[in-house]
């Protein structure tokens, strides 16, 4: 008897969607600090986008896990989604995804709790976003059944290149500041 592929297809699509949303959220977060568009784009708007993308990414992760539980192709137990290494399917590669997902949930929730945890603790935790992105990329490449496809490899390569470039940009360039002369000119007008 042939297995219904609906949930397997949904699991793959939601996993890729979550990865794309995570990548875009990371890029928005990096733009937030490096501000390559200057005053043309308000930081508060980028912040809203950054948070929205992260929340949508988490929702996609929820869909990814739910579809894997309902699918009969890999027969994922509930523990496999929450306990790293307990998946019968590619346990190490899935563990990367489990850790990334749990850390991502923690980072998203920590934003709302930053008044309790303090700003420094929140910032430290936020640095784990780089680990989350790395783990999610490794998970997609090693656990994803589409990874052998050229389009999928291009997707992971493009996402990694974009994040590396945006990180290097942030580390190298300071946001543009008005010079004293420009300030004086603006003040006079």
């Amino acid at each position: 008897m042939k297995t219904d592929p609906t949930f397997w297809l949904l699991a793959r699509a939601s996993g890729l969607t979550a990865y794309i949303l995570l990548t875009l959220s990371v890029l928005a977060g990096l733009i937030l600090k490096s501000r390559p568009f200057g005053r043309a784009v308000k930081a508060a708007s980028v912040m809203d986008l950054h948070r929205l993308l992260a929340l949508l990414g988490l929702a996609s992760l929820g869909a990814h896990g739910t579809a894997l539980l309902l699918d009969r192709t890999v027969r994922m137990p509930v523990a496999g989604l929450f306990v790293p290494g307990s998946s019968p399917y590619r346990p190490v590669a899935v563990a990367f995804g489990v850790i990334a997902a749990e850390l991502m949930a923690l980072v998203v929730v920590s934003f709302s709790l930053r008044r309790l945890t303090g700003q420094k603790a929140w910032r430290l935790l936020h640095w784990s976003t780089y680990a989350i992105f790395g783990l999610a990329t490794a998970h997609g490449l090693l656990a994803g059944s589409d990874s052998a496809q050229p389009w999928a490899r291009d997707l992971y390569l493009g996402a990694a290149a974009a994040v590396v470039f945006a990180t290097a940009w942030r580390a190298t360039y300071r946001p543009s500041r008005p010079t004293h002369r420009a300030r004086a000119t603006q003040a006079e007008t």
Partner: protein, 64 residues
Amino acid sequence: MTYRIVIDGLACSGFGDCADVAPDVFELDSHGKALLRVGTSSDPAVLDAASACPMGAISIEADD
């Protein structure tokens, strides 16, 4: 042009971009929250500081 600056203390999350952009106008307290050094300023950098705030916690009013 003089700018009147108001910080929404509830919205401020201590990113510190304002003090980075306009250090003559903004400073951070021991918890990392933004404080005003002055109530008004003619430095247009305050506009950049308001635009740079990720929480939109800085509002500026221009007086002629």
